[in-house]
Symmetry: C2
Subunit: 202 residues, 2 copies
């Protein structure tokens, strides 16, 4: 998605070889107009999948999921929780998800009330790196007897294993920007001819 | 806001005398179409306030803020973070916020890059009870040299002190549904004539 790649190049900050900060438009400050374009693109890529529910995980997935919902005809958006609040007393599905960025393992939970057998659930998230969060969400969906309709990702770190891990399990994964590598502070996209041309000319 | 009150009556679950669960449409499963109506209502109530930024706090404020943004002309939405991720290395404004629901004190943070002197910032959140989260956000905004344009709340617990605490400091607070009390599992709104009539007839 060209608009997104341009924005990553303009405002993304590469740190070392494997970290990209996009908190200027995606996961701290949010550009809602850009997210609407992202939502339209997801709807295009998952057309015909008969999605009737969107699942994400707090916190930074929420903006992506909520903004995308209208382009899917306003299905309910459910976000998995990382903490068990006092008011979440009923039964819920639980899965562990490791965060390699933060070096933590968290339990993510969804109330049994909000995913049902027969649901066709689209997973949306802001980042895909090692794929642990997405994988945990696929397990939650299957525990509920529902179907994983697909996994939509805003930014995929193509140099980490998340995408191949998920695809090897048969899931349809659509990433709107795939970063092939970070080199000398420069972000190189996997399928970006211009980026390759830039590299050749340096 | 009548549509919201009806939804709270239909899907809200009263627990004891002071807890209302609305995770069927607001803070676990999200009804985006309802949130769009909420966003329109906020835009109406804060018309003329020249808002150029929206601030909320993760997680459940994000959906409200993001869905409201388009009715304010797409200002940037910033969400204060409750954890300090590895990738948030620059300077940030910090404030403590106590959660009476969870019995915890958390530090909320906003990067200095995303609130500036001269900004007119609207605070949006899903709940107002003791007002600690909103109050912490007003302090973050003022630390940045910016102006608090107002505070928009989806559901206010009118029987707790948050609203009067914030109003006594001169802030414009707009709550779309104000719960006066919870009585025998029934939710009574502060300015709802029908609810009063119902009570009279019981």
């Amino acid at each position: 998605m060209e608009l997104l790649k341009q924005r990553i190049i303009r405002d993304g900050i590469a740190i070392g070889k494997d970290t990209i900060k996009v908190d200027g438009f995606l996961n701290h400050q949010i550009d809602v107009a850009l997210l609407e374009e992202i939502g339209k693109e997801f709807a295009e890529r998952f057309k015909g999948c008969e999605i009737n529910k969107i699942l994400t995980v707090e916190s930074s997935g929420i903006a992506v999921a909520v903004t995308s919902a209208k382009y899917f005809g306003y299905p309910p958006v459910v976000f998995a929780k990382k903490t068990a609040p006092n008011t979440m007393v009923e039964g819920c599905y639980e899965e562990e998800a490791r965060s390699f960025t933060k070096g933590t393992v968290s339990v993510i939970r969804v109330s049994e009330k909000y995913i049902h057998p027969g649901d066709k659930v689209l997973i949306l998230d802001d980042f895909l790196a090692h794929g642990e969060a997405s994988l945990a969400m696929t397990k939650l969906i299957r525990k509920a007897g529902a179907e994983v309709a697909g996994i939509g990702i805003v930014i995929e770190k193509g140099f980490q294993i998340g995408s191949s891990k998920l695809r090897s399990k048969g899931f349809k994964v659509e990433s709107l920007a795939i970063i092939e590598k970070i080199e000398d502070g420069k972000i190189i996209f996997a399928d970006d001819e211009n980026a390759d041309a830039d590299r050749d000319s340096e």
